[in-house]
């Protein structure tokens, strides 16, 4: 039997990974070999497929790295078999049925969300002992907010300065409720400053709001953005829906937290049919939903119809009267 070195064994194992049954045969051969200390001296024999397999088994038996390698390939092959197993969706044993999709990119907003959350966490880690409550959450605001806070009262955190400069004049006026709601929410968090028991909630809310501020900033900076006021049943403007090419933001400070078992659901209604598009989240006094409109999404906010928010059972069902409603552009 000819000997095989580690590099050759490593390559050979990869080559076997797609041969049906080959890895199991090899594993069986390895198992049948005597213990490593009792391996007979290698014989010199003419090369053949059989002797190749025997020498590979011999090497794997004695080489911990190759045994782990073999295990990894066996797991890979088993997972491929699982993935292509025939069922109602009929993958039918062929990988080709799982191919043909395009890569899916993470939403652009996710990066800033993660960055804000990490920054909040890092700030908390670095905070001096004895610091409590929203003092930490407030310091987790992004740099643009910090800059504004330096020239404004601490009790009135400002919005990212970039959004002020980039909002076109026409849109700035209609976007005011959106911006005001965000400022109110951040201000509300600051009032929690001394309530240490709510630190975790406040920290999460602060991270969510900083992420939201980033999204609002991005939406309003997009020249093609739209802003639609959302009105309550009495006709008063109580919230804002804004969207750009990629992002959608709904915000209101008019909603109380939903009772147990209920949620505020966002929907688009066309031709009398409501399509659920999202659920409102809460951060401090602000209720919001931040969605994506990139090319993966099927939501369309143009083409008429109405955008609404209603209080619905969290377990499903719907059709309740809207608490907020806005007309979508045709």
């Amino acid at each position: 039997m000819s000997r095989i070195d580690h590099a050759a064994a490593h390559e050979r194992l990869a080559d076997l990974a797609l041969e049906p049954g080959a890895l199991e045969r090899l594993a069986g051969a390895v198992e049948r070999l005597p213990a490593a200390g009792n391996v007979a001296p290698p014989e010199v024999a003419p090369a053949s497929a059989e002797s190749d397999e025997a020498s590979l088994a011999d090497h794997v038996r004695a080489c911990a790295r190759c045994r782990a390698d073999l295990d990894g390939w066996r797991q890979t092959y088993a997972a491929l078999a699982t993935a292509t197993a025939a069922d109602a969706d009929a993958a039918g044993g062929r990988l080709g049925t799982l191919a043909g999709e395009r890569p899916i990119a993470a939403p652009a907003a996710l990066r800033s969300r993660i960055k804000a959350a990490i920054h909040a966490e890092a700030t908390e880690r670095a905070a001096p002992v004895g610091r409590t409550g929203m003092g930490n959450a407030a310091t987790s605001l992004p740099r643009s907010l910090d800059r504004d806070r330096a020239v404004e009262p601490a009790s009135r955190p400002a919005l990212p300065s970039r959004s002020r400069g980039l909002v076109p004049g026409r849109s700035w006026r209609v976007a005011l409720p959106l911006v005001a709601a965000l400022a109110l929410a951040v201000g509300g968090l600051v009032t929690l400053r001394d309530q240490a028991s709510r630190l975790d909630t406040a920290r999460a809310d602060a991270a969510a709001l900083t992420s939201l501020a980033t999204t609002v900033d991005r939406v309003l900076a997009d020249p093609s953005h739209h802003v639609v006021p959302l009105t309550a049943a009495d006709g008063s403007a109580q919230g804002t829906l804004a969207w750009s090419t990629h992002d959608l933001v709904v915000m209101t400070a008019a909603l109380a937290s939903p009772p147990e078992g209920k949620e505020y659901r966002c929907w688009v209604e066309r031709g009398g049919v409501r399509t659920r598009v999202g659920t409102m989240w809460f951060a401090g006094d602000l209720a919001y939903w931040n969605g994506s409109l990139d090319d993966w999404a099927t939501i369309s906010l143009e083409g008429g119809g109405r955008f609404g928010v209603s209080l619905e059972p969290a377990t499903g069902g719907g059709g309740s009267s809207p608490v907020l409603l806005g007309d979508l552009p045709a």
Binding site: L18, A79, L80, D89, L95, G96, I104, A297
Partner: protein
Amino acid sequence: MTGRTGDDAVAEMGDAELVARIVSGDEAALMAVYDRHGDALFGIAVRFLADREAASEVVQEVFLSLWQRAARFDPAAGSLLAWLIGITRHRALDRLRAEARRPRLAAPARAGASATDDGPSDEGSLGRGATSIADDEPDPAEEIDRRWSRAVVRSALAEMPDPERRVLLLAYDDGLSQSEIALRLGWPLGTVKSRTRRALATLRERLVLVPGLLEP
């Protein structure tokens, strides 16, 4: 003088070095890991959960876990991507279990339902395909395994360079040997071998779970 910035330097670091910097509290290193692997993790999560927002939340939780527990990463046990995929699986399964505990019984799961084909769920959080571990499933663990494997394989195939995907499909689906693939495609045998190995390595890195994953 070149315009190379500190961020460029971080972006060029190896995964192990980035993890070491994350352990010391370097936020830029964590974002560099996100830039490198975030799309892959999101692609798997969204295919598994069939819900874009839920997938975003899972990926955010994964990176928070990395931030808080990076010191537990063991390069000897597997690559960083494999480790992060394992955490993604944990978090995504947590989501499904939480959803299954809700009283609502949604439509039967469409295992392997394509997120790209179907678009985002219109059922709110964890929509189509998200209830496959409800009590009435005959073998939830098997179903979850299949759905996870499909999500990972579909994601890997989507991200794989076309030549690597072609040799993989010819070998797996048509049972062709590497020599036969070389003849069929007119490529040198060595090229076929290297592309097959790269394709397999991609699948293996994503499919084989790293032992000793951190607990939530």
